[in-house]
């Protein structure tokens, strides 16, 4: 089974409105422990794809197979043990403590009507310790900084123990230090065997930290592969409609947007 991909998406078609598809027959496969970034402008279908994989919306065609199981054969709870989505931020307009919040991630496994088992609580506390938020356990969510909330969200995703963890713009609200911290955490999770799909707008973080990049435009995959192969100034121009320079350092491509006037210099590569 080790050579089979963890997640296979086959011919995925979906539209919020009839006659207009937001995803047109998407196919891809991701191996266990890989971090894959979805890149694309707003409305290209990144979040929609995550919602389709998670079955929050009903897909019109195609199938999603995780770990050999077709998700359409699973109950909602079954799906929640296979994959989950970590949102960019969480509403804080309710009075749950950090620990209560992280514990909710464990709920697909909790069999009792009310309480988590001792083993569940142990996993929850250990995960919180790993993310360095255990000492905030009894603080209310609304009292935390956005960096702490980002870690809480990841911890909640981890205690859910999904095979595939989708992360929606994990660094959107964070400053540079926390952005890098979150990306390091995602890499650690991938090393532990989680397969991670991440939507992002931060091109340079993505090329630095992800194994593969998927360029999306208008609901279709434009390119999919290692950052160095996929991220070229032509591809970026096609997807985002901006002119960029791509500079390669230690095999990692970095993207520098160029103002329109010196765009004609084209693709300058230093290596």
């Amino acid at each position: 089974m080790s050579c089979d991909p963890t997640i296979t998406v086959d011919g995925l078609v979906f539209g919020y409105k009839k006659g207009k598809n937001n995803l047109n027959g998407v196919n891809f496969a991701i191996d266990q422990g890989e971090v894959v970034a979805l890149l694309g402008p707003n409305g290209s279908g990144k979040t929609t794809m995550m919602r389709c994989i998670n079955r929050v919306v009903k897909i019109s065609e195609g199938k999603v197979v995780i770990d050999g199981t077709d998700l359409s054969t699973l109950s909602r709870e079954g799906i929640s043990r296979m994959c989950t989505t970590v949102p960019a931020d969480v509403p804080t307009d309710f009075s749950l403590t950090l620990k209560e919040f992280v514990s909710l991630g464990r709920s697909p496994y909790v069999t009792g009507w009310l309480w988590e088992s001792d083993e569940d609580m142990l996993l929850i506390e250990r995960t919180m310790e790993d993310f360095g938020i255990l000492h905030y356990a009894d603080r209310r969510l609304s009292e935390l900084s956005s960096g702490e909330r980002a870690r809480a969200l990841l911890a909640k995703g981890v205690v859910q123990e999904p095979k595939v963890m989708m992360v929606d713009e994990p660094s959107a609200h964070l400053d540079v230090k926390y952005k890098i911290q979150v990306m390091e955490m995602l890499r650690d999770l991938a090393a532990k065997g989680f397969t991670i799909i991440m939507a992002s707008h931060d091109l340079n973080l993505v090329t630095r930290y992800c194994d593969k990049v998927m360029l999306l435009s208008k609901g279709a995959i434009i390119a999919y592969g290692a950052p160095a192969e996929v991220v070229t100034s032509e591809a970026i121009k096609e997807v985002f409609d901006i002119d960029v320079k791509v500079i390669t350092d230690h095999g990692i491509p970095y993207i520098i947007p160029t103002p329109p006037e010196d765009a004609d210099e084209g693709d300058v590569r230093d290596a």
Binding site: N54, R55, T85, S95, S107, V110
Partner: protein, 367 residues
């Protein structure tokens, strides 16, 4: 504390952390237990105290003794005047007060979680105005045809409440079934029904006094037959809501997040909405519309006990019951021998307390 004695070897370190976890978990359960115990003791004391109140004076000790005799003999000694008064007149009333107080508070607590709006109370789904409309209609026809049936008002109230609720639900579902759709549909249906009520009362002003008592809320003249119905109609939904408390916690995260955690959001919401409609309908059926409890008690409890519904629902039930009983004792005694409208008394007692909490906790508090 028993360790698993199965064949698998558990590392010492894990064992130690497990026992720590167990200790912390016990701590949470102990908190719940302490709150429940204190609450129940408070309720029993206030309950006995409420039995002493009325025109016929009974001392606290005597009331306790009478209650004990009634429980031991499965009924009152018909030769003893105080026992008869306590059993036939005062006990059913106090039982109803407790159940309705707990019911309204829990209904409010669940509604606020479902709709994620702090200004929501159990009546927002049109329950109160539907019930009021049906009661007004029945009172008018009753007077005109001269038939007085004791069951007419409660039955009408329940039918009106459930019908208005069904209408609200239908409109909300058609409009997309979002949290806001329920609020808007409820407000629209309520406004329409209240307007209809006002018009009916305007054209029949002479008969208005008869239904005033119901519209202001009152626990007078309740019998054991009523108490059984109210107790069953409130306690069962409260228990069900408590069993759903884990799911309510998840629903707080929003619809998408709840689905990622394996919850069928629409189904859960529908079940809870129907449950709340039944709960609220039984609360208004005999005693009329009593505001404030359903809106404020859940906020008070969230400020004191936090937002975890496993703790919040039992606490709301207990605090709601206590506040309602205090208000009932006050409205029986303050202007004896006449009775004050309990809805107003609840607010008079509740407002200062809530203001105090808001000033103290308001900055930190989010729903």
């Amino acid at each position: 504390m028993t360790e698993e004695s199965s064949g698998t070897t558990v590392p010492e370190e894990t064992k130690a952390s497990l026992s720590k976890v167990r200790w912390r978990k016990k701590h949470v359960k102990q908190k719940l237990l302490i709150v429940l115990m204190t609450g129940v003791i408070g309720i029993i004391l206030l309950f006995v105290y409420s039995l002493t109140m009325g025109i016929y004076t009974i001392e606290f000790g005597d009331a306790m003794e009478c209650l004990w005799n009634i429980i031991c003999n499965f009924g009152p000694d018909m030769d003893s005047m105080p026992e008869k008064i306590i059993f036939l007149l005062r006990m059913p009333r106090s039982v109803c007060v407790l159940c309705v107080g707990a019911g309204l508070a829990v209904a409010g607590c669940v509604m606020q979680a479902l709709i994620k709006n702090p200004l929501v109370d159990p009546y927002i789904t049109g329950v109160s105005s539907g019930a009021a409309f049906a009661v007004v209609l029945v009172s008018m026809t009753e007077i005109s045809i001269g038939v007085v049936a004791s069951m007419a008002v409660p039955v009408a109230a329940i039918i009106g409440a459930v019908a208005a609720f069904a209408l609200t639900m239908t409109v909300a579902e058609i409009a997309g079934g979002k949290a806001m759709s329920y609020v808007l549909a409820g407000v629209i249906i309520s406004t329409g029904l209240s307007a209809a009520n006002t018009l009916i009362i305007y054209f029949n002003a002479n008969d208005y006094v008869g239904i005033m008592k119901w519209m202001f809320g009152s626990f007078a003249d309740l019998t054991w037959d009523n108490a059984y119905v109210i107790a069953a109609g409130t306690l069962v939904p409260i228990l069900v809501a408590f069993l759903f408390s884990k799911r309510l916690n998840i629903l707080l995260l929003g619809e998408d997040q709840a689905q990622y955690l394996g919850i069928d959001v629409r189904k859960t919401k529908r079940i809870m909405m129907v449950l709340i409609a039944i709960l609220a309908a039984f609360c208004v059926a005999y005693c009329g519309v009593i505001g404030f409890i359903g809106l404020i008690i859940p906020h008070v409890c969230r400020m004191i006990f936090g937002g975890d519904h496993r703790l919040l629902i039992p606490c709301s039930a207990i605090v709601g019951a206590l506040v309602m009983l205090i208000a009932d004792i006050a409205c029986k005694t303050l202007a004896a021998p006449s009775e004050l409208p309990i809805g107003a008394i609840v607010a008079v007692i509740g407002v200062p307390f809530f203001l105090f909490l808001m000033v103290k906790e308001g900055r930190r508090y989010v729903m």
